[in-house]
């Protein structure tokens, strides 16, 4: 939605633009990518963007999970949703950086932690291609069309507030940018039968069928707490957990795998003994 809106804003400026998401196994809250190209002539190229001029990070926790700045041009810029000042934002590369607490802006103005309109305001501070006015107009159009005029208006106001509060500076380059190790077998090495399990690559479980690298636990906003003494060992939570994040001990007490528990809460709601309670936040 944010990428589409910035594209629309660029088109208001008389430029050409294109925006598209990369779809994986997405759900609300899961890390996703979206791309936008802006040019002064018709855009023909339709590949993904590998070397962006601008990077926008909507959730600062991604900085610790993904090498987000991988490919970012050294003369590029970044916009990061964070409470930190730009020089404390460690992207692994020193670039022009705008930091903004878009989450607080969104909570104040939209009463929900949905940051994509606020972050757009901060983007206007990081570049002189698309103006804040065009961005606000595009927000009013795009969000207005989906959610009604009032929603368009308050989202545009959120962009303005984020623009006003955004801080311009330079990012830190402390951490190394470590590319994720991907499983890239040749056609000869693909196990036959579309039955891809976990392939072992230098001691690392990888591959499309492997959940090892996909730490769905990072999506969590609530966390199940196991109250062992209350548990009647019925195994209902083990059966229902959609992510197989609950395992049974030999005596049928349970353990929760927090690397993969998404915090959906169905274990807590099915438990007949109230032996699982959902705590707020990503950690206990």
């Amino acid at each position: 939605m944010a990428a589409q809106t910035i594209a629309e804003a660029a088109i208001y400026e008389g430029l050409e633009a294109q925006a598209f998401p990369f779809f994986g196994a997405e759900r609300r809250g899961a890390p996703v990518m979206a791309f936008c190209r802006i040019d002064d002539k018709k855009i023909s190229v339709r590949t993904q963007v590998y070397q962006p001029d601008m990077l926008v990070v909507m959730d600062e926790s991604l900085l610790d999970i993904e090498p987000v700045a991988d490919g970012l041009k050294p003369n590029g810029s970044a916009v990061v949703n964070t409470k930190l000042s730009p020089d404390k934002v460690d992207l692994g590369i020193r670039v022009k950086c705008v930091s903004v607490d878009a989450t607080t802006v969104a909570l104040e103005m939209l009463k929900a932690p949905i940051v994509n309109t606020a972050i757009l305001g901060a983007m206007a501070k990081a570049n002189d291609i698309v103006t804040l006015e065009s961005i606000k107009k595009a927000i009013a159009s795009r969000f207005g069309e989906h959610l009604g005029e009032e929603a368009g208006r308050i989202n545009a106001a959120a962009a303005q507030a984020a623009y006003d509060r955004a801080v311009l500076g330079e990012s830190a380059a402390q951490r190394p940018i470590v590319k994720k190790r991907a499983w890239t077998p040749t056609w000869q090495d693909i196990p036959p039968g579309v039955a891809l399990g976990q392939a072992d690559m230098n001691g690392l479980k990888v591959g499309p069928g492997s959940a090892f690298q996909v730490r769905t636990g990072t999506w969590r906003t609530r966390t199940p707490r196991y109250l062992r003494e209350k548990c009647v060992r019925c195994a209902k939570c083990w059966f229902i957990c959609p992510d197989a994040a609950i395992s049974r001990e030999s005596d049928d007490h349970i353990q929760i795998d927090y690397d993969h528990c998404k915090g959906c809460g169905v274990c807590a709601s099915i438990c007949p003994a109230k032996a699982i309670e959902m705590a707020k936040g990503a950690k206990l």
Partner: protein, 389 residues
């Protein structure tokens, strides 16, 4: 005319609205869902005077479209991948009964090895079904081709259904600038639908009757003849569209930097855009390369391609699907068209399952095409494949 920023899917929905489709039966499937969501919004908000019918499967959606069209109303539906496969049985009914239904198919690879990304192995097998097939390059062409499709399909000289194919995500979910024509402009281009046969209690008729060997051959030939008739109509209607709306697409094919090209590549769908950039880069280096964009798989532009490749020393054909232990379907058709012309023709498989098609991928294709002019090393290349071919 209004400038809007639309995804390929939404461009299709706007076109359907502008074409005043009367009945839209549909079943959602990623990445087509945005089309029918938008249309159901239009209907719900009273912006579109139509009946939206949620179906319980794609097989039902196509059956409902056939039934509705047979009562003489303009019909639209949309699907993708496994959804199109589930329609397969009913698809065959529409052409032979001469029901000019228009459908959007968002090309998505057909499982197993299930994915939601672009590949043509869903629609290519249906080129035998009697449906015309258009493949579009961008959101604007998606919108314009739907408008053209109703004109072509409902022309008394054609009267066949058409599926308008657009690539999953690369088009369906990519927003870009689209010129949306005014209702009056479309109304003056697209007259009200005049059906061939109408289910009418006052004038009872059977449609889709059982046919014995004594008649089925002639019926099939009639359909084949009809499909051949459609190609010149597509060229004509595209020209007329150009006069009306100020933009056109070349009819069956578009030639890009072909006038003095010695090495040419044939592409279809969104791949054409990136291939254009590759052609521009190679031209800047002085290489005589050109591009032919195929807009239709059915009817197939045999004559147009034969014309376009005169003077070409080597020809390559891009395919985003493969008939196993054979070639890509576009290649097979193209080589059939040009075999008397004698130049080497090579097949270039790429972008399978939605693998990103980059500029270097197309440059590599041109390298192989140039090489084939001197020595035909092999007939079929896979580009971007890990492991030796």
């Amino acid at each position: 005319m209004t400038i809007k920023v639309l995804s390929g899917d939404h461009a299709v929905a706007y076109a359907v609205k502008l074409c005043r489709a009367d009945v839209i039966p549909a079943y959602p499937i990623t990445p087509q869902t945005l089309i029918i969501e938008k249309i159901s919004d239009f209907v719900n908000d009273g912006e579109m005077d139509a009946t939206f019918m949620p179906a319980d499967s794609e097989h039902s959606a196509m059956s409902m479209a056939i039934g509705a069209e047979a009562t003489g109303v303009r019909t639209f539906t949309a699907t993708a991948s496994q959804g199109l496969a589930l329609m397969h049985e009913m698809l065959y009914v529409a052409p032979q009964t001469r029901l000019p239904i228009v459908m959007a198919n968002v090309n998505r690879s057909l499982g197993a090895g299930s994915g939601i990304w672009a590949e043509y192995n869903d629609s290519m097998p249906e080129r035998e079904s009697g449906w015309m097939q258009a493949y579009v390059e961008d959101s604007q062409e998606a919108l314009d081709t739907i408008i053209q499709a109703y004109r072509i399909c409902e022309d008394p000289r054609v009267m066949l259904p058409m599926m308008v194919c657009l690539d999953a995500f690369v088009l369906s979910h990519t927003v870009e600038k689209v010129l949306v024509p005014e209702q009056a402009e479309v109304d003056s281009f697209l007259p009200r639908f005049r059906p061939l046969n109408v289910l009418d209690p006052a004038d009872p008729k059977f449609i889709n009757i059982a046919v014995s060997p004594a008649h089925s051959m002639e019926m099939r030939y009639q359909l084949d003849h009809q499909m051949r008739q459609a190609a010149p109509m597509i060229n004509l209607i595209d020209e007329e569209f150009g006069k009306h709306f100020g933009r056109r697409y070349g009819g069956m094919i578009e030639r890009y930097r072909m006038s003095d090209a010695e090495h040419a590549l044939i592409t279809l769908g969104s791949a054409t855009s990136t291939a254009r950039v590759a052609v521009d880069q190679l031209r800047a280096q002085g290489r005589k390369v050109g591009l032919i964009k195929l807009r239709y798989m059915r009817p197939f532009p045999h004559q147009e391609i034969q014309e376009a490749v005169k003077g070409v020393k080597a020809l390559g054909v891009f395919d985003r699907s493969i008939a196993l232990n054979g070639f890509g379907p576009v290649f097979t058709e193209v080589r059939n068209s040009v075999y008397r012309q004698g130049m080497p023709v090579t097949n270039h498989i790429a972008g399978i399952g939605g693998r990103d098609l980059t500029i270097p991928t197309f440059v590599q294709m041109f390298d192989k095409i140039e090489q084939s002019a001197n020595a035909l090393e092999r007939e079929c290349y896979w580009h971007g494949l890990r492991g030796e071919m």
